[in-house]
Each structure stands twice: as C-alpha cells, then as structure tokens.
C-alpha cells in the first residue's frame, strides 16, 4: 500500500516534469521555428519575397539540425546550455536541447503547412495590393492554421519521446523513471505504469490537436 502511494507520487511528479519540459521547449521551438518556417516559405522562388541566398542557407541549417541524433545534440550543446540557463543538468537544462532539436522540425512543419495554400490565393492578395507582411498575417497564417496546429501537435508528441532521453542529463520526467525503475531496477510495474501514462499523454495531446485543427478547418 505504501509502495503504491510512493510510486504514484513518483509518476505524478514525472508527468509534471515531462509536461514542463515539453511545454516550455515547445513554446520556444514555436517562437523561433515559426518565423524560420515563414522565412523559408516566402524566400522560395515565385513566392512573395524570393531570395535564393536566404532560402539555401535556411534549408541547409534545417537539414543539418534535423539530421543530428538528439542524444548527440544534447551533449554537443552542453556549453551553450550552461551559458543560457546557468547549469547543464536538471529539468530546466534539458529544455534547451529539446527546444533546439524542435526548432528545425517546427520550421519544416510550418513550411509544409504553408506550401499547401494554393498559389492562386496568394496571387489574389497580391492583386489587391497587399504588402508581404499583410500576406503573411492575413493569408499565410490563417490559411495554414489547421496544418500548423496539427504540425505543432506532432512536434509536442516527438518532444515527449525526446524528453525520455533527457534523463541522461538529469532532466527527470516519465521516460527517465521508466528507464531507472523499469530497466535498471526491474520494477516492471512502475515501467508499465509509466508507459501507460505516456501513451495516454500522447493520445490526449493528439486528440486535443485534432479537435482544435478541425475547429479552424473550413476547407
């Protein structure tokens, strides 16, 4: 009985840590990834602000960012993390590599959502004398909104997966618990409970994402 309360508290705290890591890193990933995605869309040729130079650079950065395995990225940016949050271990410190890993992902997600908008709609706005900024704010963002929401949902779910590895730098969270208790100490019950919570979490996030996207989708 005692064990049960102890473990449920453990899992509860782990859940909060996971949500904290994922939530905060997602927030920063979107803050930076969204403008990045917009920029890579509008600098394409035939778009509203064509610029091969910027497009190439951003495209390359995103590709490199996405091809580095998370565990390596986490270790590689330790000095940067320490500079930014004053420490390289702990839950807060884990947020930095998570956000960094998610930025290029969000960039691509934004790009693909915005490329789905029919060029004709953008052309119509141009024919009305809209400025590039007006096109971004009044056409690209609202028209891509359902796709953006689904993309951000996907990012959140990926971040939950990545956050399991954050245990390696003392980040805590559900994944960490599963590894420490389940794998290293053979507490199978704990591991199963953790996995169940993770599955639930992913399901709930996907469900909410779908609901919000559907609400804004009038296509």
């Amino acid at each position: 009985m005692n064990n049960l309360t102890q473990y449920s508290e453990l899992i509860w705290n782990g859940t909060l840590e996971t949500l904290y890591m994922v939530g905060v890193s997602l927030f920063f990933a979107v803050i930076i990834g969204l403008p990045l995605g917009i920029l890579i869309v509008i600098t394409r040729k035939d778009h509203i602000a064509p610029c091969q130079f910027i497009y190439r650079i951003l495209d390359t950065i995103i590709n490199i960012g996405r091809s580095i395995p998370f565990i390596i990225l986490m270790v590689a940016i330790i000095p940067f993390t320490r500079k930014l949050v004053g420490s390289s271990i702990g839950t807060t410190a884990a947020i930095v590599p998570l956000a960094v890993a998610a930025i290029p992902f969000v960039g691509r997600v934004v790009e693909s959502a915005m490329l789905e908008i029919s060029p004709g709609v953008i052309e119509a706005a141009r024919s009305m004398g809209a400025t590039p900024l007006q096109i971004i704010m009044k056409v690209l963002l609202p028209e891509a909104l359902p796709g953006l929401i689904l993309g951000i949902t996907l990012t959140a779910i990926n971040l939950i997966g990545y956050s399991a590895m954050a245990g390696a730098i003392g980040g805590g969270g559900l994944g960490d618990i599963a590894i420490r208790y389940g794998y290293q100490r053979f507490r199978v019950t704990v591991m199963i409970a953790t996995v169940v919570v993770l599955v639930l979490l992913v399901d709930i996030i996907q469900w909410i994402g779908n609901k919000i996207a559907a609400y804004y989708d009038h296509r």
């Binding site: 029919s118 052309e123 024919s127 004398g129 400025t131 609202p142």
Partner: protein
C-alpha cells in the same frame, strides 16, 4: 482608359526561351467589356496579368488613365492595384474566411475603417445576391456563388477596372450565364471597364463589346464583336465562331454544287433587304439558298446565308461586288471550305 503599346514577354524555360507576348497593341475604352479570346497557350493569361503587373513585361508600355504603370515603384503599384479588381477561374477565396470576411479582405488591406467596411460589405452582398450566405464559408458554396463572392471582393475598393481570367470556365452553363449577366449589370451600374479572358466564343458573344483574338502571343484580329462575327478574317477566329454558330449542313443533305458557293453574312438593318430577288432581277443569276440562319448578338440581328450562285462568271462577279456595296460580308468558299460547311 487602357493603352497598351509594343508589349513583349519571354519566358526562360528549361527548353529555352518562349515568347508569350509579342508586340501587343491594344486600346480599351472606359466602360466597355473587352474580351480576349484565343486557344490554350496563346498568352491570354500572361496578357491580362500584365495589366496589374502580376506579370512584368520585358518591353512595352501600359498606360492606365494616362499613367504609365510599368514605371511605378512598389508602393505606387500597390496603390494602383487597389483600383484594379481581379477575378479568377478558381475563385481564389480565403477558405478561412466567411463570405463576409472575404469581401471585407481587400478593404482591410487598404485600411478602410471598420464601420465603413461593414456597410460596404452589406451593400456588395446585396449587389451580388448573397446576403443570405453572409456567414457561410467558401466550402459551403456552389461554384457560381463562389464567383459572386469573388466579384464582390474585387469590387470592394471601388476599382475602375475589373480583370477576369476565365472567370466562368469552371462553371456550368447556367451559372456561367448568371455570372455574365452580373458582369454586365455591374458594368452598367458602376461604369466599370472590364477586361475578360476566355476560350469560349459564347462568352464573347454574350457580353463583350469588343474582342481581340490571340494566337501564339500575338493579337491576330480585333474589333467590335458583331463585326468579327459577321466578317472574320483569320482561320482561328472562324474556328471560334464555328463553336457557337453552326454552319454545318445536315449530313443527310446532298448538295450538288452547280455554280459558285458563297457565304453572305449580314447584320442589323441589312437583314431586311430583299437580297435574293435583287440578285435575280438585276444580274440575271440564280441564287440557291443552301443554308440560312439568323442569330443575334446582344440585340443586333445577324445572319448567315450560304448561296450557290449560277450564271455567267462576269455577272456573278458583278453580283458579288453589289452584295459588298450593300454592306454585307461576302466570302467565296473554296472547294475545301465547301466540303466542310
């Protein structure tokens, strides 16, 4: 109103350079509905898109109300565009906005105050007959209704010119007719100048005052719609006219051509002259009517006769000259043509 001089446009493609527009010259008058027709790839879209510089010409001048628009800077061009409405084949409405929101959109871009905008939206919805659909999204509308939203949206900043690129090409015949009527109505009520592109001669016949026929980047024929119908000069024009006015004789009919086969086309008053009896009396020739049809283009009667003229060569020549003097268009059909009529 719109004066186009020496317009050229090339596209550089992987297969080399492609001439989309070649020495285009046009004058479009205020308040007229000007049609541009041509086969696919003729350069019609390229042409109309140069009028608001969605496509920048390589060479040439485009004057709108005496202002050279190719010389405008970016900011001036955006201001200019607010006075040029455009509608599209695929409507290009914002799926995230309702009818009301879509019509309001250009005014938001132009910075029109809220109250004024709302009032204008109501008026425009009434004009295009969509007041009962105000809060519907485009996905809940029929094609014809979507194009009405497109038109209302294009009119929201009180443009002087409306550009229409195949606006009825994805609509069924009934919606097409109602959209064409609407275009005519707004031209009459708002004294708008409308430039419309189409590949359907029926559209030209129903609403246009004048028409230019394009082929391979050039304007090959231009004039009043009725004149073009009565007296087409170019093979491409004839092909288009054939799509709405059927010259074909019923297959079962066996023509045995005896004399010279001619096509006489006439319009307006001349439809009332007793042509055949004059020919017979004055020139002593026989005129067999092989085919006859009277049509009308926007209220002007217009007809076609295919005659087989029998008599001496000189008297036929004289008769043809006489028909020409009456103001009728005559065309002697070659053997090839007479096989295909």
């Amino acid at each position: 109103m719109i004066e186009i001089r020496g317009l050229y446009k090339n596209y550089i493609t992987a297969q080399g350079s492609l001439t989309a527009l070649s020495n285009i010259n046009l004058n479009i008058k205020e308040g007229e509905i000007y049609g541009i027709i041509g086969p696919s790839g003729a350069g019609k879209s390229t042409m109309i898109r140069t009028l608001n510089l969605l496509e920048v010409p390589d060479r040439g001048s485009i004057m709108i109300n005496g202002e050279e628009i190719t010389a405008l800077n970016k900011k001036e061009l955006r201001e200019r565009r607010k006075k040029i409405g455009m509608i599209f084949q695929h409507f290009n409405l914002l799926s995230s906005r309702t009818v009301r929101g879509n019509i309001s959109f250009p005014m938001e871009i132009a910075g029109v105050p809220d109250a004024e905008r709302e009032e204008k939206v109501e008026k425009l919805m009434e004009l295009v007959g969509l007041s009962d659909r105000a809060d519907h999204y485009p996905s809940e509308l029929s094609g014809g209704q979507k194009q009405r939203v497109g038109i209302a949206r294009a009119l929201s900043n009180d443009p002087e010119i409306l550009l229409s690129d195949e606006a009825t090409s994805s609509l069924d015949p009934e919606s097409t007719d109602s959209i064409l009527k609407l275009l005519k109505k707004i031209r009459d009520e708002l004294n708008l100048t409308i430039v419309l592109i189409t590949h359907e001669m029926d559209v030209i016949k129903k609403v246009c005052d004048r028409v230019a026929v394009m082929e391979e980047g050039q304007i090959v024929e231009e004039g009043k719609v009725i004149d073009i119908f009565v007296n087409p000069q170019q093979p491409v024009t004839r092909r288009f006219i054939k799509t709405v006015i059927d010259y074909n004789l019923p297959e079962g009919l066996n023509i045995t051509q005896k004399g010279r086969l001619v096509r006489v086309s006439f319009k307006g008053e001349s439809t009332h002259k007793p042509l055949i009896s004059l020919l017979i009396k004055k020139y002593n020739i026989d005129a067999n009517i092989l085919y006859g049809k009277i049509d009308e283009i926007q209220g002007i009667p217009f007809g076609t006769l295919i005659l087989d003229l029998e008599g001496s060569d000189e008297s036929i020549d004289e008769a043809l000259e006489f028909i020409g003097q009456l103001g009728l268009a005559v065309e002697v059909l070659t053997d090839e043509q007479s096989n295909s009529i």
